[in-house]
């Protein structure tokens, strides 16, 4: 370790991928992350079993209320995928994202590891990017866990077969699976706004718990605001407003209008709160 050996090392081009890989590996090895995924996997099983018991005792017309396709589940297990996503999207999925994104920076600050990452030097913008990308990865993984768990539960408890769309036409089971995958993709994208919001909140504090609680609290507040009729003027700007539009993928032809609005809104949230997080994190004093 002599000075002669200390050559100036040039940063490698793809190094930020190395940081991202480390970030994803670290996040998904956390016990908390695995617990969240276990809860997400449990919801479809619970819903599936509940529907099975209900129909077993009361006949196939049991589903009143709930999403439009819940009554279809007994005819086709694939509908459990759509039902489960509709059940988890309003709360379970965004809450899980809120925990992961809210903890992203604040949790590292709380543990003190943030200062060591920064003197490594990870670079503030790069670290933030790796954190956001990891939150996005969690959005996708969380959604897929729900979808897969629902598919397996649905296949185990109910018959599979041709899919009757909400518009009445029938498609093959294979095409139904593709639509289910597309829906999972749209649901994952729907969560990007919450992820960006959580990340921004995470840059404001040194307490992981506070950031998580604030993010989840905002999530609940926004959901409530979205149900108050007097506030219809601001509702199109609430990140959760178009969430359930994913059901439009189950029509023939697909209704694109709300889907596009949803993705556009998520992109807007990602840009606004991503920039705010960047502005805050790159100038802030790291005192933890």
């Amino acid at each position: 370790m002599s000075q002669a050996e200390t050559v100036r090392r040039a940063p490698r081009r793809l190094w930020s991928l190395g940081l991202l890989r480390s970030e994803i590996g670290t996040t998904f090895r956390r016990w908390r992350t695995l617990a969240l995924l276990a809860v997400l996997a449990g919801v479809p099983i619970l819903v599936g079993v509940a529907i099975k018991i209900e129909t077993g005792s009361r006949g196939p017309d049991g589903g009143d209320g709930g999403p439009a396709f819940i009554s279809q589940v007994t005819n086709n297990g694939l509908f459990l995928v759509f039902t489960s996503l509709a059940v988890t999207l309003p709360f379970f999925l965004p809450m899980a994202i809120g925990v992961i994104a809210g903890d992203a920076i604040a949790g590292e600050a709380n543990a003190g590891t943030l200062r060591y990452l920064l003197v490594a030097p990870a670079g503030r913008a790069r670290l933030l990017f790796a954190k956001y990308a990891t939150s996005m990865a969690f959005c996708l993984v969380g959604t897929l866990v729900v979808a897969l768990s629902a598919l397996v539960t649905g296949a185990a408890l109910f018959p599979l077969g041709k899919v009757t769309l909400l518009s009445g036409t029938s498609i093959s089971f294979g095409e139904g699976l593709l639509r289910a995958l597309a829906i999972a993709g749209v649901v994952a994208l729907s969560l990007l706004g919450v992820a960006a919001l959580g990340l921004f909140i995470s840059t404001l504090t040194n307490s992981g718990i506070a950031a998580m609680a604030t993010t989840v609290g905002l999530l609940i507040t926004v959901q409530i605001l979205d149900t108050i009729p007097q506030l219809h003027a601001i509702q199109p700007y609430l990140f959760s407003h178009y969430w359930l539009s994913f059901a439009d993928l189950l029509r023939d032809p697909v209704y694109w209008d709300q889907l596009q609005k949803n993705i556009g809104l998520q992109a807007l949230y990602a840009v606004v709160f991503g920039s705010a997080a960047w502005a805050r994190f790159t100038t802030r004093d790291i005192t933890a």
């Binding site: 002599s2 090392r9 003197v119 030097p121 990870a122 670079g123 790069r126």
Partner: protein, 337 residues
């Protein structure tokens, strides 16, 4: 450049270009206007083992955080390895290993995976040599056997060692070690001091902050003293001791005796000032020489014996860094233990 060691304290301070850390008027005011660091001009020569001394809350850690680009100075500038901080963080920090305010680890990861994680955050670290470098760093701090254990099961001393290992993942030009022996047992402290000397012998500049004066005295070639955000003095350890000796006399006289009360009376009669008694130990400043010649301590010893005071030990104490500190700041030092 010849490797400087702790046994070579009289080295002259090199010229400005050879400073690995240089600050000009570095100031940090926290909200409310309170100055944590007040117009600091610090110069750390390349190749030195530089002791950064001060009681807790004197601004040492704030200074280190500014040097490492973690917090922005309110005023003034800092250069590390010749480049401005925090502007040149990306170029400077890969050549700097740091332990700041104690170790911070991922409890759910093993010691080895913690190091892999920190190494992955370094854009200049080669992933192909990562495992090899991680294992070498673990061996170097004596954690080879515990590398696979989860970090939450580590003792404070082991965490401290792992933090040090993270600073040693790459060959560094500068090591910034904030209280590196915190939480270590005496054996561990000795090992860390040996490690610091080895690194210095290899040409790495070591910037060592501590509130343990004897620690600084044992390993450092240079030192700076901070108190209440201000730099009190800096220079070689030998120079610092000399300033106290020159202005305060010729070191302190120390007498060990079973009759401290009598000894105190006799010494006072012979002009010894600032006499302090601790158990069977009496210390005091030798009288100022009236005719330019230093007072002869042997005469005092003879006087003590003549007065019937039994003397077990008699001698002059060299000024310790603690004396330096007390002399410079006029206040006591928070010495642990």
């Amino acid at each position: 450049m010849p490797p400087p060691t702790a046994a070579d304290p009289g080295r002259a301070v090199p010229r400005d270009a050879d400073h690995v850390i240089e600050t000009r008027g570095l100031t940090k005011a926290y909200r409310g206007g309170q100055l944590a660091v007040d117009r600091l001009d610090l110069a750390v020569p390349r190749g030195s083992v530089f002791g950064f001394l001060g009681p807790n809350g004197s601004g040492k850690t704030t200074t280190i955080r500014m040097l490492m680009g973690l917090i922005e100075p309110t005023a003034g500038s800092a250069r590390v390895l010749g480049r401005p901080m925090p502007g040149a963080s990306r170029q400077v920090l890969p050549a700097v290993g740091a332990l700041i305010e104690g170790p911070a680890l991922y409890g759910f990861l093993s010691g080895r995976d913690n190091l892999r994680r920190f190494d992955a955050a370094d854009p200049t670290a080669d992933p192909r040599t990562r495992d090899e470098r991680v294992d070498r760093a673990l061996e170097r701090v004596g954690l080879g056997a515990a590398a696979g254990k989860k970090a939450r099961a580590y003792s404070l001393g082991m965490k401290q060692r792992l933090g040090l290992a993270a600073a040693l993942l790459q060959p560094r030009e500068l090591l910034v070690l904030d209280e590196p022996t915190n939480g270590l047992d005496p054996q561990g402290m000795r090992e860390i001091r040996t490690l610091v000397r080895e690194l210095a012998a290899d040409g790495t500049t070591v910037f060592l902050s501590s509130h343990l004066l004897d620690e600084i005295e044992q390993v450092c070639t240079h030192a700076a003293v901070m108190a209440r955000g201000r730099l009190i003095t800096q220079g070689t350890v030998a120079e610092l001791s000399a300033t106290v000796l020159d202005s305060g006399g010729h070191g302190r006289l120390a007498v060990t005796t079973p009759d401290p009360a009598d000894a105190t009376r006799v010494l006072k009669e012979h002009g010894v000032t600032d006499i302090r008694v601790a158990g069977d130990r009496v210390t005091g400043d030798l009288p100022a020489p009236p005719d330019g010649h230093p007072a002869e301590p042997a005469d005092l010893n003879a006087a003590l014996v003549r007065a019937g005071v039994r003397v077990r030990a008699f001698g002059a104490e060299r000024a310790s860094l603690e004396d330096v500190f007390v002399h410079l700041t006029g206040e006591g030092f928070d010495v642990a233990g």
